[in-house]
Each structure stands twice: as C-alpha cells, then as structure tokens.
C-alpha cells in the first residue's frame, strides 16, 4: 500500500498514525506540509529513521523545494516529482491518504 501524509509532524499526529498502521514493505509519500518530516536533525528524525527500516519513504520534491527544505532531506528518503507520485500510486494496490 501507498500512504500519503500531508501534515507537519510537529503540529499533527498524521505521520505518527500513518506509521502505526503502515505495514512492512509499504511506501509512505510525504506531500504538502508533510515534507517537513523528511528533514534531518529534527525532533522526529529518529522516529523517521527507524521507520525507514520497515517502509520506504519518499517526499514530493516540489513541496520540499517550496519550503526551502531541499538541502535538509535525510539520507534514505527519496525525492519524487508529480510523475513519481503517479508511478507510486500505480505500483501499489491502493492509496491511503492520512489527512
């Protein structure tokens, strides 16, 4: 399954909830304000690093760049453009949007 998270991890529980329900081998795509979770050296970075052991994590590049986070993305998180977003949806059996 592909999960999308569009909320900042500092103000909302969407990422935490998503990671609670995402199973081994799932993909998580951070979009919109959710891309802040991709940044290094934050209060949630450790949690996100841990999650990388069981799920693949991607971040939507246009959202990362808009927020000036492009030089802060942690290792292991892949940036994709909207085309990549489309591919992720096509590759997985279903999408769950954590709003």
């Amino acid at each position: 399954m592909l999960h999308t998270v569009n909320k900042s991890p500092f103000e909302h529980r969407a990422l935490e909830t998503c990671l609670k329900f995402a199973r081994q081998g799932a993909a998580v795509l951070l979009i919109e304000d959710g891309v802040y979770a991709a940044a290094r050296d934050t209060a949630v970075s450790k949690r996100v690093q841990e999650a990388l052991k069981t799920v693949s994590i991607y971040a939507l590049k246009p959202d990362v760049e808009a927020r000036g986070m492009q030089h802060r993305v942690m290792d292991g998180i892949r940036l994709v453009d909207y085309g990549g977003f489309v591919d992720l949806v096509a590759e997985h059996n279903a999408v769950q949007s954590w709003l």
Binding site: E32, P62, G83, V86, V89, V95, L99
Partner: protein, 130 residues
C-alpha cells in the same frame, strides 16, 4: 491505468486542489486516464466561476476548466455538498428558486453515487484533502 480523484478542499485555503491538479496533469502526461475528478466537502468551491484571483497568482478554477476542456475530463461537484455551500448550475438555481447560478465551465453537479462509481470503475482512487 484509470485514476479516480477525490478533492475534499476548496481553492487556495488548502493545498489539496493544487496537489490534485498537478497529479492529474502528471498522470495524463504519462498516458494514464482520469476516470473522474470528484469534488466533495469544501472541494465544491473549486467549481465556482466567480473567482477573481490576483493576476500574478495561479487561477485554480480556470485551470481546472481548461484541463477539463483539453482532456475531456469529468469534473463532478457533489450536489449535496454544493447545496450546503451555494454552488449552483442553472438547472439547480431554477429548481431551488435562486436568482443566480455560478458553476464554472467544465464542471457538472451530480450525486455522491458518482464518487462511489469512480471508486468501482477506476483502478486507483486518490484522495486529496486537509
């Protein structure tokens, strides 16, 4: 692949409509089919033709209309959500005794069944919201 799209928020206030639009554009560029874009909750506000955004900003309603025209997209505004929020086509306005209608080109008003049908007929349903 056939995609169904659900947009739950209106233009500008949330990024949902933007992300949905860019997703749809990218999907079309890759040769996929967009089965339907369904607008629910405040998403119905993407269908008003009365917006006049600043000239130097993207025109969210207009670009949905244009994309729909170019690719023959089915943009559906939920009738129940539209009635709550004041989105009307000419027929609805007449039926409800309203003195105006405001639906933008390329959009049509229909029931929630269209959303369920999109879920059934499309290969993937993607939800954009807050």
């Amino acid at each position: 692949m056939k995609f169904g799209i659900l947009v739950n928020e209106g233009p500008y206030t949330h990024e949902a409509s933007d992300t949905a639009y860019q997703f749809v554009r990218a999907a079309l560029a890759k040769g996929h089919e967009i089965y339907r874009v369904f607008f629910y909750h405040d998403g119905v506000n993407n269908g008003t033709r009365l917006t006049v955004p600043p000239q130097d900003e993207r025109n969210i309603v207009k670009r949905w209309s244009e994309l729909a025209a170019k690719h023959k997209l089915d943009l559906v505004v939920c009738i129940a959500a539209a009635q709550r929020r004041g989105l009307m086509d000419a027929a609805e306005a007449k039926r409800n005794g309203k003195d105006a209608d405001n639906l933008a080109p390329g959009f049509r008003i229909s029931g929630l069944g269209q959303l369920i049908e999109a879920g059934i007929q499309a290969d993937r349903l993607v939800v954009f919201g807050d």
